[in-house]
């Protein structure tokens, strides 16, 4: 058996259809090689020239911003009822419990009749999100039974101090300056 010579025509795997014949270009060098190199150079020049004609595709970041998708998970927002102006958050701490990064701190307090803060029995006296810990998973949004917290579209949150990244309830409730453009209907679908 060991004497048997290798015959590619009778080799068993050739019929299996798994074998892909390798396509090789012509050998480099020689006059043909020089001719092909010249042709390929011209092709390359054409490619770069068409890049020049098409114009730049980059986005001038600080002035222009990449539009985000509607479900983009950016900085959190706390919400109020539009009619009464009461906070939706009732201080149940479910968001804090759901948070895998443990970055939400809620201290609840009883609502006093006459000066209600939220619609429920209790309200969040302290509501802090440490954005330097947050992983923007959106679990808080899902956990919230009253849709009091949602993820916004803002992603420019860099700051100089870590303490500045702890967002308080007032900062999260404040109407954020909408700095991030939203993708329009259907935009960006084709490049997926």
């Amino acid at each position: 058996m060991s004497e048997q010579s290798f015959d590619p025509q009778t080799a068993p795997y050739l019929d299996s259809g798994d074998v892909v014949e390798v396509q090789r270009g012509p050998e480099p060098g020689g006059i043909g090689g020089a001719y092909r190199a010249f042709g390929e150079t011209l092709r390359g020049l054409k490619t770069t020239m068409s890049r020049l004609i098409e114009g730049p595709l980059t986005i001038q970041y600080p002035e222009e911003k990449t539009p985000v998708y509607p479900r983009f998970r950016g900085r959190h927002k706390l919400h109020r009822f539009e009619d009464t102006g009461l906070e939706k958050c009732v201080g149940c701490s479910l968001c804090a419990a759901a948070c895998p990064a443990d970055c939400i701190r809620v201290v609840a307090a009883e609502n006093i009749p006459g000066e209600r803060v939220s619609s429920g029995e209790r309200y969040a006296a302290v509501y802090e999100i440490n954005l330097s810990r947050c992983i923007f998973c959106g679990y808080c949004e899902i956990a919230c039974p009253f849709d009091a917290i949602t993820m916004g579209h803002d992603y420019e949150m860099a700051d100089y101090k870590r303490t500045d990244l702890i967002f308080t309830k007032e900062m999260l409730l404040a109407e954020p300056i909408e700095r991030t453009p939203l993708k329009s209907e259907g935009e960006g679908v084709e490049d997926r």
Partner: protein
């Protein structure tokens, strides 16, 4: 076509005109150089779907000012075991060679006893090669005196490459010289009144440009910093300008162009800048050649081609 035409050796100008001419040429070229650096970076950006520098000043035009400011404010560092005088001389020699080579680029014909060029030397092209080769000393000295083996290796590579391409460059220009019968660049341009030599000498043109494209990895610059590094960079752009100028004069009819006579320098400049654009285009397209491939290209492709071109041209010149 039996005798050689030499530049008019009896031609003389008053010294004031010479000084004024040199100042104007110097000012124009050194005005173009910084813009060229921005334009190159911007063009390379556009070739890659980018914008290139556009933050400093309008359209990023003040970018070279910022770059030079940065380079000047940097420490003029010198390695401990570098040879100080040669280390300082390293970047100076290429600058000198570049400025000297500017002198023979013809910007226009002689008018009212004033030649629109720095000097019209009877040995024109030989002057270009002689002066241009001084730059190699700068590279070699800079690389060697840096006291670093990597600089030395880089310098060896650059010098070997430049010398081997210089041969093909010279042979490529030889065809033009045989057709025009003169070494003087002004006479070569005058001889192109009917046909620009890019037509009959297309092979020579391609070889000349290809040899000019040969890009260096600039390994000899390894130990340089600050403005010394800056002057090496400056020289690189100046050499692109000079090579484009020589190519424009030898192959593209120099100052020839429609319009009144005073437009001649403008035409020359346009042709030069068009060639500079081609240089940048090719630079944006092709990757650098590996060193051995580069030598193969120089000695096994360009040199035989250039020799063949010279032979064919010689036969044709004699026959016609």
């Amino acid at each position: 076509m039996t005798h050689l035409v030499f530049a008019d050796t009896q031609f003389a100008e008053s010294i004031w005109i010479m000084i004024a001419k040199s100042i104007v040429i110097f000012a124009v070229i050194f005005g173009i150089l910084p813009v060229l650096t921005v334009v190159e970076r911007k063009l390379i950006g556009r070739f890659q779907h980018r914008y290139g520098p556009n933050r400093v000043g309008p359209f990023g035009l003040l970018q070279p000012l910022a770059d030079v400011g940065k380079l000047i404010s940097k420490e003029s560092f010198r390695p401990e075991n570098a040879i100080s005088t040669l280390f300082i001389l390293g970047p100076l020699l290429p600058v000198l060679s570049g400025v000297l080579a500017l002198a023979i680029i013809p910007w226009g014909d002689t008018k009212n006893g004033v030649g629109f060029y720095g000097i019209d030397v009877p040995i024109g092209i030989l002057y270009f090669f002689a002066v241009g080769s001084i730059a190699f000393y700068g590279l070699l000295l800079g690389g060697w005196s840096s006291g670093s083996k990597y600089s030395l290796l880089g310098a060896m590579r650059s010098a070997a490459q430049l010398i081997s391409y210089e041969v093909s460059m010279g042979l490529a220009l030889l065809g033009v010289i045989m057709m025009s019968g003169s070494l003087s660049l002004v006479d070569v341009v005058r001889a192109q009144g009917d046909v620009w030599y890019i037509g009959p000498q297309i092979v020579g043109f391609l070889i000349f440009m290809l040899a000019g494209f040969a890009e260096l990895v600039q390994g000899f610059m390894t130990e340089y910093g600050g403005m010394r590094f800056g002057s090496f960079l400056l020289v690189e752009y100046m050499e692109i300008l000079v090579v484009s100028g020589i190519a424009a004069a030898m192959f593209l009819g120099g100052w020839m162009g429609p319009g009144p006579g005073w437009l001649d320098p403008i035409w020359m400049l346009i042709k030069m800048l068009a060639l500079v654009f081609v240089f940048i285009w090719v630079r944006a397209t092709l990757p650098r050649l590996r060193y051995d491939q580069l030598m193969t290209l120089g000695w096994k492709v360009l040199l035989p081609l250039a020799t063949l071109n010279v032979l064919v041209t010689a036969v044709l010149v004699v026959v016609t």
